[in-house]
């Protein structure tokens, strides 16, 4: 081994060197912007104008307001439900994509996942309004099949927002899982079959544990994106789905940048906390998947 004698294996002080390009871009831009936001969060905005002096009032207003906590709750709820559905639909989809032998089918699948990303969310929401509306396509089918007697309200409701968000974020779940599935050595599945496991057992005991890292990555991406989503809940929520990003947008337009800054930091803390917990919970399975080879 070439590792230096006294340091633990893998210790590389020049780890920072590798991070340098990424860090410099982030520092140049993102950290600088966050610093500006932080300084805004202590400014005073009263009666429609900025007043001199600093205050912690924005923080107390936000953290002490019952309304803001309900908005946080809605945001987390939206993120959780969306992530769960994306995982539920996305993993099997990735598995199916990976299993398709005919490249044409696989490529069509990729295209179907990828094409919607190119249509702006504003344009897509028109399509959703036609599909999910009270007189829309889905309700017409449900009514004609007598599954329901009155139209199911989906548009301008929480459910409509979830459907549209899953639609947008599914690729962010599928692509990471597909990339990890591709690294799976097919010999492992053969070996499992040789040892007598049926397909289901092979899946749950070999494939899934080894690819859980892809699932984790997908969930991180989808959760982070769904709680910071602004356009979809605004356009399809009809005002009923009040999430933190929409509030932030309103504060920025309303010139109450101090409050917008506080809310932005709140969202960041929220995301890091949830992702942190999620990663901790999955540390076991992920380590096992690494150690398995």
């Amino acid at each position: 081994m070439r590792a230096p004698a006294r340091r633990p294996a893998g210790w590389r002080p020049d780890g920072y060197l590798f991070l340098l390009p990424a860090l410099s871009v982030l520092v140049l831009f993102f950290l600088a912007a966050m610093a500006v936001l932080l300084s805004f969060s202590f400014e005073r905005f009263v009666g429609g104008r900025f007043l001199p002096g600093t205050t912690t009032g924005n923080f107390t207003t936000f953290l002490g307001g019952h309304y803001y906590w309900s908005v946080i709750a809605t945001t987390v709820k939206l993120g959780t439900v969306t992530t769960f559905l994306c995982a539920l639909i996305g993993y099997p989809t990735a598995y199916a994509l990976n299993a398709m032998r005919r490249p044409l089918v696989r490529n069509l699948g990729y295209f179907a996942l990828f094409a919607p990303l190119l249509t702006s969310v504003i344009v897509r929401s028109y399509g959703w309004s036609l599909l999910l509306g009270d007189h829309g396509f889905i309700n017409q089918i449900l009514l004609s099949l007598h599954v329901v007697r009155t139209p199911v309200p989906m548009l301008y409701e929480f459910s409509g927002v979830v459907i549209a968000l899953v639609h947008i974020l599914l690729p962010f779940m599928v692509f990471p899982v597909v990339s990890v599935l591709g690294q799976l050595d097919p010999a492992l599945k053969l070996a499992s079959a040789d040892l007598g496991a049926n397909r289901l057992q092979t899946f749950f005991r070999v494939t899934l544990p080894l690819t859980v890292q892809g699932l984790v990555v997908g969930c991180e991406l989808v959760f982070a994106l769904s709680i910071s989503a602004f356009a979809t809940p605004s356009l399809l929520g009809g005002g009923r789905v009040q999430v933190l990003p929409a509030l932030i947008y309103n504060e920025v337009g309303g010139l109450n940048w101090p409050l917008a800054a506080v809310e932005s930091y709140a969202l960041l803390v929220l995301a890091l906390a949830v992702i942190g917990i999620f990663t901790l919970l999955l540390r076991g399975p992920v380590a096992r998947s690494r150690g398995a080879t």
């Binding site: 905005f45 429609g48 309304y67 309900s70 009270d134 356009l235 009923r240 010139l255």
Partner: protein, 367 residues
């Protein structure tokens, strides 16, 4: 009796106005108006003009800019087209960081943004005495504090889907009439119906609480809140929520595009929303000279008329002759204009953030 404006009339009206403008307007001063007080700078001057982002609101400013630049070769007018939600915060942020390099030098700003700008020290006082057309501007559109001058006025009233609602609504109270329960929509956020409700329940602009309480109780009138113009048009046209309150100008633009919508001034009086031309703080002296001249010329009968016709607003210069088709529109009938309600926009600007929160917490949370 208000004449129904057909699509053909609307097109004729706008093209007639364009033709009139090209031929030299109503016969009033065709030549460039005399220079204001001082002399116009001879050296190169660049000014940026804030223009509303919406429908045909950019037509007159752009036509004016072309015309002005052709007659003043040393002046360059750049156009900054934006919405208020994005544009004004940027102006304010720029002012806070580089006060001597304003983002824009002058432009069109609605009444609420004007009031906000006064709070922020954003505007220059205009030199009315040096502006020859000011004497023809209706007194209510001139300002005592000289912060800007009115160039036109839109109005807010009722907009409804003619195929789904009949007979037409007539009153502000229709918005909370139980027969329209679940059929109303508003843009996010829209405090005017709250103000009307407050007035009818013992309050007013300074005391909006009765209005908030009232609408909190009547929140179920609202089917959905919209956040973009295409969505607004969609929701109104396809019947999801066929009744709302909004601008006369926008409603007519949609109608002109074929949507089955109509604007009605409520019998208690539509709310007048003036648009002001402002000169922005931080301009150089040369820029200020040019800006003052430009604003003055925009107030001339020729250009004021073009603004009124393309933006579908009441003109502020008394000498402007509106085309017949426009004069017979419900919004421009004498009866409507005489009943227009005005609002103290300074109060609005001061309370905007608080009202926004109450809108979210009291109304949106309950629809």
């Amino acid at each position: 009796m208000a004449k129904q404006l057909t699509r053909r009339d609307f097109l004729i009206m706008t093209s007639a106005a364009a033709a009139l403008a090209a031929c030299g307007g109503t016969g009033a001063s065709r030549a460039a108006s005399p220079s204001p007080g001082g002399k116009l700078p001879k050296g190169p001057v660049t000014v940026t003009m804030f223009v509303f982002l919406g429908g045909d609101l950019g037509k007159m400013p752009k036509a004016f800019a072309q015309d002005y630049m052709s007659r003043h070769r040393n002046v360059k007018i750049e156009i900054y087209e934006d919405s208020n939600t994005v544009g004004y915060p940027k102006m304010l942020a720029a002012k806070q960081t580089t006060p001597n390099q304003p983002l824009v030098n002058f432009g069109f700003f609605n009444a609420q943004t004007t009031a906000q700008g006064i709070l922020d020290g954003m505007w220059n006082r205009l030199d009315y005495d040096a502006m020859s057309n000011v004497k023809d501007v209706l007194p209510i559109f001139r300002r005592e504090d000289r912060y800007g001058i009115g160039v036109g006025s839109d109005q807010l009233g009722l907009v409804y889907n003619t195929r789904l609602i009949s007979p037409a609504p007539t009153s502000w109270t229709d918005l909370w009439d139980s027969k329209y329960k679940g059929k109303v929509t508003f843009f996010d956020y829209y405090w005017y119906p709250v103000y009307i409700a407050a007035k009818m329940n013992g309050g007013g602009l300074q005391n909006m609480q009765p209005g908030w309480d009232f609408w909190k109780a009547h929140a179920k009138q609202i089917r959905t809140i919209v956040t973009s113009n295409p969505q607004y048009l969609d929701v109104l046209s396809n019947g999801t929520a066929p009744l709302t309150s909004y601008f006369n100008g926008t409603a007519l633009q949609w109608k002109g595009g074929g949507a089955p919508l109509e604007y009605v001034p409520p019998r208690e009086g539509a709310i007048s929303v003036p648009v002001y031309l402002q000169s922005v703080q931080g301009n150089t002296n040369d820029q200020n000279e040019v800006v003052t001249d430009i604003i003055n010329q925009m107030l001339s009968p020729k250009w004021n008329q073009q603004w009124a016709v393309t933006s579908v607003e009441v003109p502020t210069n008394q000498k402007v002759q509106l085309p017949d088709a426009m004069r017979s529109l419900p919004a421009f009938q004498r009866a409507t204009v005489e009943k227009l309600q005005t609002v103290d926009w300074t109060v609005v600007a001061r309370n905007n953030a608080d009202w926004r929160q109450k809108w979210d917490q009291d109304i949106k949370a309950n629809i």
